[in-house]
């Protein structure tokens, strides 16, 4: 019972054991075992439909798994709504399509959850929001609406919005896939800085350059399974499985 509140630094940030999930009859996640230590940076790659997004969406219960267990920051995941919300307080998420709130200004996007979820006074929440907006170098746009920003700017706001909740781990679900090529770098730069500051990160991405520079571990998934996981250097230079070799040759081939 004490494990619910245990937060010693040696407990893993995320533990998944025997995770299975089905969409109807379709078996999306098959026997996933994954442990993420605090401060670890993990890149998950794989062909589309391999279950990589579903995997990280299970961590904050945007998707429900049917078998196996997930423990996030020492808190075991259950069906209980309060428990799920408690876990979500520790887990930040950045989406492929940014999902900023279009009816609120950039500043309000960032200060909304601190005000309403963490009950911070408005002034304090706004100061916090400005701090993180400065960190992603977009403070001067604070009073604009998301619809007035470019894709890269929106994604940086989305990262700041997550950081305002002081998450212990950040999930990135293909954060650069919906961006125009010239905007990918500004988002990756922010993510690299975040990694250098020691944030625990799980990134689903096809940016192999990012994986090589930042990741502690690269995980390759196919058909709902973890096929191969390794440090980036051996992963890219000496992939063991045939499927990994094929995948890498396809995305790095030209």
């Amino acid at each position: 019972m004490t494990s619910q509140t245990a937060k010693a630094d040696d407990t893993p940030m995320i533990e998944m054991r025997g995770l299975n999930k089905w969409y109807g009859d379709f078996h999306v996640l098959r026997d996933i075992d994954l442990t993420v230590q605090r401060g670890e940076r993990i890149v998950i790659c794989g062909p589309s439909g391999s279950g990589k997004s579903t995997l990280i969406r299970c961590i904050n219960h945007l998707e429900e798994h049917q078998q196996g267990e997930i423990v996030v920051g020492g808190i075991p995941m259950t069906q209980d709504v309060k428990r799920i919300e408690q876990i979500r307080h520790h887990v930040g998420m950045v989406f492929q399509h940014f999902n900023l709130f279009p009816h609120l200004s950039v500043l309000e996007n960032c200060s909304l959850a601190p005000i309403w979820v963490q009950k911070k006074p408005r002034r304090e929440a706004e100061a916090l929001a400005m701090k993180y907006l400065e960190r992603v170098r977009i403070a001067e746009q604070a009073h604009k609406f998301p619809g007035q920003l470019s894709g890269g700017q929106q994604q940086r706001v989305a990262i700041a919005r997550s950081l305002c909740m002081h998450p212990e781990v950040m999930l990135f679900d293909e954060p650069t896939s919906a961006l125009d090529p010239e905007m990918i770098k500004e988002v990756l730069d922010v993510m690299v800085e975040l990694a250098e500051e020691g944030m625990t990160m799980l990134c689903v991405t096809h940016e192999m350059g990012f994986a090589k520079t930042v990741a502690d571990r690269v995980i390759f998934m196919d058909q709902g399974q973890i096929i191969e996981e390794n440090a980036p250097e051996p992963f890219f230079n000496d992939p063991q499985s045939e499927r990994t070799q094929l995948f890498l040759s396809q995305i790095l081939g030209h």
Partner: protein, 367 residues
């Protein structure tokens, strides 16, 4: 062999070329562009003149405006004397004339509050909303109904005319929207009981004509409730109208909820927001904004539907004008009466429509 092209002189921005201006150019490009267009334009102009001339002659030029009895109407045009002679009754119904200041005061308060809410220059909108939704109904009830604070009571069967129409419409509008929102959320709920109750409620009220609802409210309801509960006829009509319109409102709101991308709720959930915060802060504000045309459409329908209460013996604006038409002194002026009613309804509905268009523009945040 390809040849390198390099252009390093920037081109300055220039204003776009002007389009043809002036009335003649406008006429030529819009009304008389080619033979078919010209013929159609001329036909339309002819039809407008042919239709509007007699109407204007009847309603304005040949009309009688002054006087007190039908003898004043002898010029062959509209007899607006009928309206002005009966005007007070059309507005107040059978409300005692020495107490009509209470109705006027309610009207003025209401107009002031609407102005406070609607004009963007005025401050403290939240306070205005609270006053309008919480304080005003209580004040309006005591003013209109009386019976305390030394004001004599005016039972609701003496209410009538425009005043009754507005009471029905405003109460219906203010009550139907929140109930509709709750029903729409209920219909999307994952909880089976909440969902089925909402679905059954919505489908029942949408499937029944309003006339039937009003008949049931006025005739059948007293059969089922114990006799000591003496529910006012107006209250019963109000409940009937509100429940009926909230079912329609629920479907409008549901359409709006479905138009909000799933990612919005997911992003809110990922930030740790619970259901009510996700709905109240993220989904509903966007959905309601998107649904302004549909919501106002329902409001306008509701406003006009209030005239159906005449079948259960409440004298709203239409009913009281109809009653006046049967007056032996004023036989034969039904056109004037109905034109007047239509005009008053049109003013209110057009006002709502324009305000909704303004709101849509104002709330647009560039997405």
């Amino acid at each position: 062999m390809s040849k390198l092209t390099l252009n390093t002189t920037p081109v300055d921005a220039r204003p776009a070329p002007k389009r043809g201006v002036g009335p003649i150019a406008w006429l030529r490009s819009n009304l008389f562009q080619g033979p078919i267009n010209s013929v159609l334009s001329l036909l339309a102009i002819w039809a407008l003149i042919a239709g509007l001339t007699p109407l204007i002659q009847w309603a304005i030029i040949n009309a009688d405006w002054l006087g007190t009895s039908r003898e004043a109407c002898n010029s062959g045009g509209a007899c607006w004397v009928f309206i002005s002679a009966r005007f007070e009754q059309f507005i107040y119904g059978f409300y005692p004339s020495e107490l009509r200041w209470r109705v006027n005061l309610t009207f003025v308060l209401f107009a002031l509050l609407i102005g406070w809410l609607a004009l963007p220059r005025l401050p403290a909108k939240k306070l205005a909303a609270v006053v309008t939704l919480v304080v005003f109904p209580v004040v309006a009830f005591y003013l209109l109904h009386g019976g305390s604070f030394g004001m004599p009571a005016v039972p609701t069967h003496r209410w009538g005319g425009l005043m009754l129409t507005l009471v029905l419409a405003v109460v219906g509008i203010v009550a139907a929207l929140p109930i509709g929102v709750v029903l729409a959320l209920g219909r999307q709920s994952k909880m089976p009981i909440v969902k089925s109750i909402s679905v059954v409620f919505i489908e029942f009220w949408r499937g029944v004509p309003l006339i039937t609802v009003l008949f049931m409210a006025s005739v059948m309801l007293p059969l089922f409730v114990p006799t000591e509960v003496d529910m006012d006829k107006l209250v019963r009509a109000l409940i009937g109208i509100t429940l009926f319109q909230s079912a329609y409102m629920a479907e409008v709101v549901r359409g709006g909820l479905q138009a909000i991308p799933r990612g919005q709720e997911e992003a809110a959930a990922a930030l740790g927001m619970g259901y009510w915060k996700r709905m109240g802060l993220i989904v509903l504000p966007q959905a309601l904004k998107m649904m302004i045309p549909g919501i106002v459409n329902t409001f306008i329908a509701l406003f006009k539907d209030t005239s159906l209460v005449l079948i259960i013996g409440l004298f709203d604006l239409l009913a009281i004008v109809q009653a006046a038409l049967a007056d032996a002194d004023w036989l034969g002026f039904s056109i004037e009466g109905y034109v007047f009613v239509a005009f008053v309804f049109w003013i209110f509905c057009f006002g709502m429509s324009r305000y909704s268009q303004y709101l849509e523009r104002k709330l647009h945040t560039g997405h």
